[in-house]
């Protein structure tokens, strides 16, 4: 028998769907629905929404299209919101995809902002052993994720290539039966890059991520090493990787130090000169060595926000002139803001990304919920140490209070202020940052540098998106990457 189509021909009265709002200083009100889709309203329009007295048919269409109101009895808005909400959370089912291996603490650099208690090159007792490496691979494969990324960190991982090779080969051996998508990344300063490393990277499809803080004098000032030639070696390494493996096989990350402030245009120009069209204007982290009194709070978040805004203004200007360049963090935010895709960036997820998006295996067999959790441990704070590969099973590591408590406490759906915040769907929980800076995984949001930073980024992006047609078009392109 043919099924009858049911049409909603007799809509009930108008009613609100869940929404949140924030006021803008120019009088507009930002309204976001349950999945973070947004609309700006005038004060009068917002009052009409609040009182459900929406006389303007165009406004009513907009608010219905944005799932801010529905006519009672309509099921489509509920189904669409549910579908979008579920899509945004699909990565949770995959579980941990990023597995970081600290193969050594040794490093020949002595960067002032380094978050790790690096050791001198001769101290091989700070290298990961083969036994620990194999146990870590075993644990990584316990994750149900169909995509496993193995990231080698240090110290300087090129100082312990033996273990980088072992982990890569062991993972590939195991994967012959498992059939997952594997990716390998070496996070290196590239100073020690040689043909053997390049041969290995070529054979096993390994990518490189390096540090580039900007122009030569700024970079070398931030990243001292014997010979004072960090920048020259990094650039030489980038060139060799591109020549041998291809342009796309190396990416760069910068860290904003006090010396970077006021130089954002020079830093962006340097990236472009070196052929990098993605730049992540990244503030220094408040962890590990970076917490030492001499380094601590070398600048406050307000200074970084000015730095970011100036940088973004310049990036938009460059794009308008035909030079493509992307600010990576903004692109991640815009993907969340303008699409239902979840880029899976650990700092912009809730529940937090610790453990369930990333795990870190330290050289000594300790397992941490994140890279930053390991950095805290280097200063004696073991809060985010989940266990030890030699003693704990995967189940024990992933179901212990050290992971589950901060995940639950920091969840933005229930955290003070976050639960009411119109930006919540675009933001994330960062229990490690708040623990490091305030002593608890939630922190007080008005005083939180994490919250202040993200609020400033969201407001900047929305201001440009609504005021500048070119920025709007560009932001949609970034979001679709």
């Amino acid at each position: 028998m043919r099924q009858r189509l049911t049409l909603e021909t007799a809509p009930g009265p108008l009613e609100h769907l869940p929404f949140r709002f924030e006021r803008w200083t120019d009088g507009r009100v930002l309204v976001t629905n349950m999945v973070g889709e947004h609309v700006f309203l005038s004060e009068a329009e917002f009052s009409a929404l609040a009182d459900l007295r929406i006389a303007d048919p165009a406004l009513l269409r907009t608010l219905r299209a944005k799932h801010v109101v529905r006519q009672r009895g309509e099921t489509l808005p509920v189904e669409l919101l549910a579908l979008k909400y579920r899509t945004q959370h699909h990565r949770l089912a995959d579980f941990t995809g990023l597995h970081m291996f600290v193969v050594t603490l040794r490093c020949e650099h002595s960067c002032g902002y380094c978050q790790v208690s690096r050791r001198t090159v001769a101290r091989t007792e700070f290298d990961m052993s083969a036994e620990t490496a194999v146990a870590a691979v075993e644990t990584a494969f316990r994750s149900p994720s169909p995509h496993l990324k193995f990231e080698f960190q240090g110290g300087e991982p090129l100082l312990n290539m033996e273990i980088v090779r072992l982990v890569t080969q062991e993972a590939q051996r195991r994967n012959r039966d498992e059939g997952r998508q594997l990716a390998f990344v070496i996070a290196s300063n590239l100073a020690l890059l040689d043909d053997e490393v390049l041969d290995f990277a070529d054979e096993h499809d390994v990518y490189f991520s390096t540090s580039l803080d900007g122009p030569q004098d700024l970079h070398n000032g931030n990243r001292p090493r014997p010979g004072r030639d960090s920048w020259e070696r990094t650039i030489a390494g980038v060139t060799r990787i591109r020549k041998r493996l291809g342009h796309h096989r190396v990416s760069a990350l910068m860290t904003t130090t006090a010396a970077s402030l006021g130089k954002v245009r020079d830093i962006i120009d340097c990236y472009l000169e070196q052929g990098f069209h993605d730049i992540f204007l990244r503030p220094v982290s408040p962890y590990g060595f970076a917490l030492r009194p001499r380094q601590r709070r070398a600048y406050d978040m307000a200074a970084w926000i000015d730095f970011y805004r100036e940088g973004m203004d310049y990036i938009l200007e460059l794009n308008a002139r035909g030079t493509p360049v992307v600010e990576t963090y903004s692109a991640l935010v815009l993907k969340k803001m303008l699409t239902n895709a979840n880029p899976g960036y650990v700092d912009l997820t809730s529940p937090a990304g610790i453990g369930i998006a990333a795990l870190l295996y330290n050289y000594d067999g300790a397992v941490y919920a994140s890279d930053e959790g390991r950095m805290l441990a280097e200063n004696g704070d073991m809060t985010f140490r989940l266990g030890d590969l030699a003693e704990d099973s995967y189940d024990t590591l992933m179901t212990g209070a050290a992971l589950l408590d901060p995940l639950e406490e920091s969840y933005t759906g229930s955290a003070p202020q976050c639960s009411d915040c119109a930006f919540e769907r675009w933001c994330g929980a960062d229990p490690v940052f708040h623990h490091a800076t305030t002593g608890d995984p939630v922190g007080r949001k008005p005083e939180s540098a994490f919250c202040n930073r993200n609020m400033a980024v969201f407001r900047y992006l929305l201001d440009r998106y609504t005021a500048d047609p070119h920025a709007r078009e560009l932001f949609h392109a970034w979001a679709a990457r």
Binding site: F19, F21, M34, L81, R444, P446
Partner: protein, 105 residues
């Protein structure tokens, strides 16, 4: 909250307790906790909100911001209460067939 706050408040707001539950005022005050702290006392139908400025020079605008935020928080609470069932419905549909939204034990 207790009356352990030292010194005299920098400002006092007197609110209709029925229209401004303590939870609403606390949520509003939290948003300005980098600028001010508050102490609440229920006195019959009145909620007395004593305000202590962290920086007295910023008190003037902070009080206006706090008042405006209290009004917004009243609206937020109304929307939250009105839409609670719909929110739960969306979440239950979103996580149905995932094994995460089974019947309560």
């Amino acid at each position: 909250m207790s009356d352990s706050m030292p010194g005299r408040p920098d400002a006092v707001l007197t609110l209709d307790a029925a229209a401004h539950p303590a939870d609403i005022v606390q949520r509003a005050a939290y948003r300005f906790s980098d600028v001010l702290t508050v102490e609440l006392d229920r006195n019959g139908d009145t909620l007395v909100c004593r305000v202590y400025a962290r920086d007295p020079q910023r008190l003037g605008s902070a009080i206006h911001d706090l008042r405006a935020e209290i009004v917004d928080q009243v609206l937020r609470a109304r929307i939250r209460d009105e839409t609670q069932d719909l929110r739960n419905l969306v979440l239950s549909v979103a996580f149905s067939r995932t094994g995460l939204a089974g019947p309560a034990a």
